[in-house]
Structure formats: structure tokens, C-alpha cells
Symmetry: C2
Subunit: 284 residues, 2 copies
């Protein structure tokens, strides 16, 4: 286990917003993440944690600056952790399209030569990073959520590895990555175009279908005026259908007038924090 | 009065976060600002407004993305308006120091040739911009606040033009600009080094001393671990002294562990919004 390097810390409400970096042996790069530690955690108490996976183009900064989770996490005594969306840097391959390469890992392990040395975000998140945060911070349980591509990641990890998570939610998730223009471009790079028939195994809807019911209920929020929703990139109705099929209770809410931005995320993030906090409480 | 151009609008809580631009005849540039309009304002109801002046290096983005005012303004039905910190652009003079030139107007009217065509932020804010927002939006009253250099601006405008504002507050304000290293560098550019004996007329403390008591009370918050406070750039104790002298009630709070960043601002912004909202209510 590599050592953590504290990059910054700032007092925020009754807690601290921190950034750390560490050397990853899975992505073969330095990786950074943000973590909000409420005073309970700073005093050495064990606290529930929420893992947030960000969307395309994002670093940990976007959610840390714009999602406004700190106040609610301070009130409840909850840890909030945001890893990066991919390995990054000059030595890491990239693509000029914003939905492929750096900032666009889809949280999968790439098999194509160009990408496979660094783009192992699936193993990074679920093995190395998960073990890192559990060993370095006093965490009682971990919930998982995410936005857009990160919502795809939250559903994928939550239903593929239910023993690791107490609760799942998602904000405007990409529910069928292999059928979206974004995901098709990325998967053809990471896995090769000839493997197209296997891409669907990474789709949130197929993983939920295979896993069956895993949680008392999951929470998904979708802005009804979100262009990516309107244009079919997200497809929450496919998630709703598969949840009905496997009897996985789902609260799917549509919000009139809201788009895909962090202005939407900040407007509903408190409900997600409470969803995960309540699940953690129930599990005690 | 120049026309407003709507740049963006995003639904956020029960309201809309908007950005506008307009052509200023005072700064001789295009100027932009952000405005949060709660649903009451969107429905045509008259609402109280809070004008927020940002600090060094900022655009309207910093406070709009990072201060987290939208939720409380949505709850109370309050308009929140953030103008820019200076004229900007390739045709506008600048300086390599972050505390002089673009992003660092100190909200004064420059007299030196290099700056005087564009750097008229004093007249811009108190005349053109004030009239613009009052004519274009249904505003019942205006409170003024700001951070750092913007806290200097809020105190300066609030006590120089008390008929225009219902309430004043400030977050980590520069209280004696002409005696801070930042302000001395800027004022020597904007007014010329030979006019040094006149610079103090722009200091918040001197304007409060001259104006005397103007408000039932003013609210000032200061992070106790703020390096700029520790190093003497801000000097809230000088503001406290002059407020005692002129019997202007002041609530000056120090917050252990907090620094100069937006992590501090977001932690106390709700108290400022409520301060101004309560003043607006009392005035009805």
C-alpha cells in the first residue's frame, strides 16, 4: 500500500476538506483524490463514507467546488470521497475527444495496448483505492454514488461488488454505456472495435439484471431538461425496466427544468447524502 | 441604459442561476455579472437583493460556483448579484502582479492615464450597475457584502452611499487598503505615487469614521487562521476601533481554523444572507 501525501487542507463547516495524492501501482501514475472529513472523523471516530464517481472531463475539483456536499456531511458526520476520473499526465495516452482518454475512463480496465498500461480504473477503484481509503481512514461503511459517467460507475460497482457497498445512488447516470455514442467511442478504443459483442457486460443495466436485487432501494435523480437525457445518452427508463424485472426497488425522480450541470447536482445532493447516511445507520 | 444579453441560465434549487453581459459606458468594455433569481422573482414578484463584491483575481464565477448561496437564497426568495472585479480583456491595461490591474480594481476610479479609460469601477458599481439592476429586475431593496478586496468595497460603498443600501456586511475585508502592501501597489498605479496623502480617503475605516453610524448593525466574519489576516493585510481590529468610536454597532466574529478561501465563505455565507434578508424585512 502506497503512502498518502497530503496536498491541501482547508477548514470547511465543522470539518476539513482535504486533497491527497498517492502513487498507484494499478494505473502506474500518481493519482489524487479529495476527501471531506467531519470533526468526528478528525477526532478519530469511525464514520460512514460516501464514494462519489465524477463524470466526463472532471477531476475531483468539480464536485468538491461545485456540489456543495460539505454542509450536509458536516451536519451528519459523514465522510465524502471523490477519486479522479482517469489517470492523467503527459506520459498517459489521451484523445482529442472529451469522451475518450483522460477524464473519460468509464471505470473499466482497457485491454488495447495503447491504453492498458494506465487505464485500469476498474481495478483501481474497486481494489486499490477502496483498500486505501478503508485502511487510511476510520470508515464504518461505504456508499457509492456518481454523476453521468460516474453514475454508470456507481451502478456498475454497486451491483458487481455488493459486499463492498452499503448503498447505491446515481445522478443522471449513463445506464447503457455500450449503446451511447460516448461509450461506443470509448469502448472501441479501450477494448478494440472487434470485441463489440462483449461491451454490454459493462453496461449498468446488464450488471443489475445479472446481480438481481441487492439493496433495499436505490435512488436515481434525472433532470428532465438535461440535453443528454433528451438525446438518449442516459436512458434511465432502461434502468427502471430492469429494476422492475429483477424486483430491485428504485426511486427514480425526474426534475422539471433541471439540466446536466452541477447546478442540478447541488440542488439534489443532500437527498443522496441522506440516502446513504440512512442506509449506514440502518446497518449498524 | 445599455441592453442586457443573457449568456446562460441554469435551474438551481427553486430558481435560476443566470449570467448576463452588457456594454458599459463607464468602463468602456463589455461587463458580465451573475444573478440568482428565485422563483418569486421569476414569477414577477419584487424581492430583496444582495450585491456581492468579489476579491482579488476573481470573476463572478468564483462566488457563483463556490460560495453556495443558492440554497439559502432559494429558501428565502432573495436575489443574489455578483458583478466582476474589474474591466477585462486584451484591450484593457493589466499588470503582472495579481493585486494590480485586471481582477484588482479596488472599486475606485483611476486617475492615471494608463488606467483611467477603463478602471472606473467606483462609478460603474454605484451608478451604472446599481441603476441597471434596479431597472432590469424587480428589487425591493439592496444589501451589500463582499470578500477581501470586495469586503473593502462593500464597507466603502455601504458607508459612502447609505441611501442606496439597506444593510452591509463583509467577509475577511481589507479594512485599511492604503496601508496594505496590496492596496499601496494598486493605488500608486491608479492614482500616482505623488498623491499618496490622498489614498486614505478610500479606506473603509476612514469612510466609516466620516459617515458615522448608518446601520442598526453590520456583520463581519474573519477566519482566525487566514494568512492575510495574520500578516496584517486585513486589519479587522481597525474597523472594530472606528465602529466603537462612531457608535456603529458591529458584530465581528473570528472563526478558529478557517482561512481566506471559499471554503470559509461557504461556511458562513448563510449568516450573511440572513443578515441582509432580516434587514430587508425590517424595512418593509
Amino acid at each position: 500500500m502506497s503512502a498518502l501525501t497530503l496536498q491541501t487542507k482547508n477548514r470547511c463547516f465543522n470539518g476539513e476538506q482535504r486533497y491527497y495524492s498517492h502513487q498507484s501501482s494499478v494505473t502506474n501514475t500518481e493519482m489524487s483524490f479529495s476527501i471531506y472529513l467531519p470533526d468526528e472523523a478528525l477526532a478519530g471516530q469511525t464514520c460512514p463514507a460516501l464514494l462519489y464517481l465524477s463524470g466526463l472531463t472532471c477531476s475531483p475539483d468539480n464536485v468538491t467546488h461545485k456540489a456543495h456536499f460539505q454542509q450536509k456531511c458536516s451536519e451528519l458526520g459523514m465522510i465524502f470521497i471523490a477519486p479522479d476520473t482517469s489517470p492523467k499526465g503527459e506520459s498517459v495516452p489521451n484523445d482529442e475527444r472529451y469522451f475518450v482518454g483522460q477524464g473519460a475512463s468509464y471505470y473499466v480496465n482497457a485491454t488495447e495496448d495503447k491504453w492498458s498500461k494506465h487505464f485500469n480504473m476498474h481495478s483501481y477503484i474497486i481494489d486499490e483505492f477502496y483498500e486505501l481509503i478503508r485502511s487510511q481512514f476510520a470508515i464504518s461503511s461505504v456508499g457509492i454514488t456518481g454523476h453521468s459517467m460516474g453514475g454508470h460507475g456507481a451502478l456498475m460497482f454497486g451491483f458487481k461488488y455488493p459486499s463492498k457497498f452499503i448503498s447505491v445512488s446515481a445522478i443522471a447516470p449513463v445506464c447503457v454505456a455500450s449503446e451511447s455514442d460516448w461509450g461506443r467511442a470509448a469502448f472501441s478504443e479501450y477494448f478494440g472495435a472487434e470485441s463489440e459483442q462483449t461491451w454490454a457486460q459493462f453496461d449498468a443495466v446488464n450488471i443489475v439484471e445479472k446481480a438481481g436485487k441487492q439493496y433495499p432501494f436505490i435512488l436515481v435523480d434525472q433532470g428532465a431538461a438535461d440535453d443528454f437525457y433528451v438525446d438518449g445518452y442516459l436512458r434511465p427508463e432502461a434502468l427502471q425496466k430492469v429494476c422492475q424485472q429483477v424486483e430491485q426497488p428504485l426511486t427514480l425522480r425526474y426534475h422539471a427544468g433541471f439540466d446536466h450541470s452541477y447546478y442540478f447536482i447541488q440542488s439534489i445532493i443532500n437527498d443522496h447524502i441522506e440516502h446513504h447516511y440512512n442506509a449506514a445507520l440502518t446497518a449498524i
